[in-house]
């Protein structure tokens, strides 16, 4: 069966002008994205922004990518049940080849990401980059900071050791101290009045499903708005 000539897609003007070679070109030519891509590549970083403090957000994003990759790997061996959680982390760190390495990268990158996101926020604050018209991106950033800390809080419980248990006890108690909605928050986080198997299940769900989905959506918006607004002016 052959495709009739009139059903072959017409070439876009830009495509007839200059066809890109190579594998990337094969895709780009078919999407008619030459101009869009060119526009993205040809952006000039303003001189005042060629400074390491303007790299903090980017470093935080690289850490996020590392955390996603190592987190997916940890989930191969981790078992989110009270009976098996601690032992599975132990086995992962002592018997799985390079398991200690993957887990250490995840652990240290997690701490570094919280730090980097916070420093990025300080840079944006002290350079006044949150001002009109960038208020919405500031708010997105605040949400991203909270999500990052949510990752830290939920991930902390997963090894299911004494430190994890009591940190979660204190953390959820603090949520419970909020007037009116406190008790609802507490039982929603714990899956009951006490920390139990339900708590571990809920925290695992938040850590590997809910928060990753949220952070991806917000990161997309964050980056889109950076491109839309451009880098803020110099001080």
């Amino acid at each position: 069966m052959s495709i009739s000539a009139d059903r072959v897609p017409q070439q876009t003007p830009s495509e007839t002008k200059r066809r890109k070679p190579g594998l990337v070109g094969w895709v780009v030519n078919r999407l008619g994205m030459d101009d869009t891509m060119e526009d993205q590549y040809n952006r000039v970083v303003p001189f005042h922004a060629t400074n390491y403090v303007y790299c903090l957000g980017g470093i935080a994003f690289v850490l996020f990518l590392i955390l996603a990759a190592t987190g997916i790997m940890l989930a191969v061996y981790y078992q989110p049940t009270p009976d098996n959680a601690y032992q599975s982390v132990l086995t992962l760190s002592t018997h799985v080849q390079f398991g200690w390495w993957i887990r250490s990268i995840h652990r240290w990158s997690a701490g570094a990401m919280v730090l980097l996101v916070f420093l990025h926020m300080l840079r944006v604050f002290f350079t006044g980059a949150f001002k009109r018209p960038r208020e919405l991106n500031w708010l997105t950033g605040v949400a991203l900071l909270l999500i990052t800390m949510g990752f830290g809080f939920t991930g902390y419980l997963l090894p299911w050791d004494q430190k994890a248990y009591w940190a979660t006890k204190v953390g959820t108690d603090i949520a419970g101290s909020i007037p009116l909605i406190g008790h609802f928050l507490l039982v929603s986080l714990r899956g009951g009045e006490q920390i139990s198997a339900a708590t571990l299940g809920r925290f695992y769900d938040l850590h590997v499903l809910v928060l990753p989905a949220l952070i991806l959506i917000l990161l997309l918006g964050h980056f889109f708005m950076i491109r839309r607004h451009g880098i803020s002016g110099r001080l």
């Binding site: 790997m73 032992q87 132990l90 086995t91 018997h95 799985v96 398991g99 993957i102």
Partner: protein, 154 residues
């Protein structure tokens, strides 16, 4: 070869080496360790069951490591004889364990009862087959924290 062509090759080679440095650990990571795969792992045959008198501890060697077989009415348990204090070889007397270095003593179930040792003696996975006792790796469910039994992953 042009200079830029050479540099491209060089970049490609370094890139491939860097990539291999990531891919190799990931592939090793995905391979399940013997302790988890359900198999008993490296199995050592420590001899016929008739060699282990009931109610007694019989010293054997498991992969060149000192161990003792306990026979409690046909239930065989294999204990590591490496003291959980500082790693001396624990001596057996009847059904009891005693370390000659610092006087740590362990109950017939391997629990530390006297002396400086705090942690129980580890046990090996074991099973009987055709009248012989087969011994596998250390039973991980009794390992209290990483690095305790160093011989297992050194």
């Amino acid at each position: 070869m042009t200079r830029s062509g050479f540099l491209k090759w060089l970049l490609g080679i370094f890139g491939a080496i860097s990539l291999a440095g990531i891919v190799y650990p990931v592939l090793r990571f995905l391979k399940p360790p013997a302790a988890l795969s359900g198999a008993i792992g490296q199995v050592a045959n420590v001899g016929p069951l008739s060699g282990f008198a009931a109610g007694q501890l019989t010293t054997v060697a498991v992969n060149d490591q000192p161990a003792a077989v306990q026979n409690l009415d046909g239930k065989y348990t294999v204990y590591s004889l490496i003291c959980t204090h500082l790693g001396c070889v624990v001596e057996t007397a009847g059904d009891a364990f005693r370390c000659p270095c610092h006087g740590s003593e362990f109950s017939p179930t391997g629990v530390a009862t006297r002396g400086p040792a705090k942690l129980p003696l580890p046990t090996y996975h074991s099973q009987t087959q055709n009248g012989s006792l087969l011994v596998g790796p250390i039973d991980l469910s009794r390992v209290p924290y990483p690095g305790w039994y160093k011989g297992e992953f050194s």
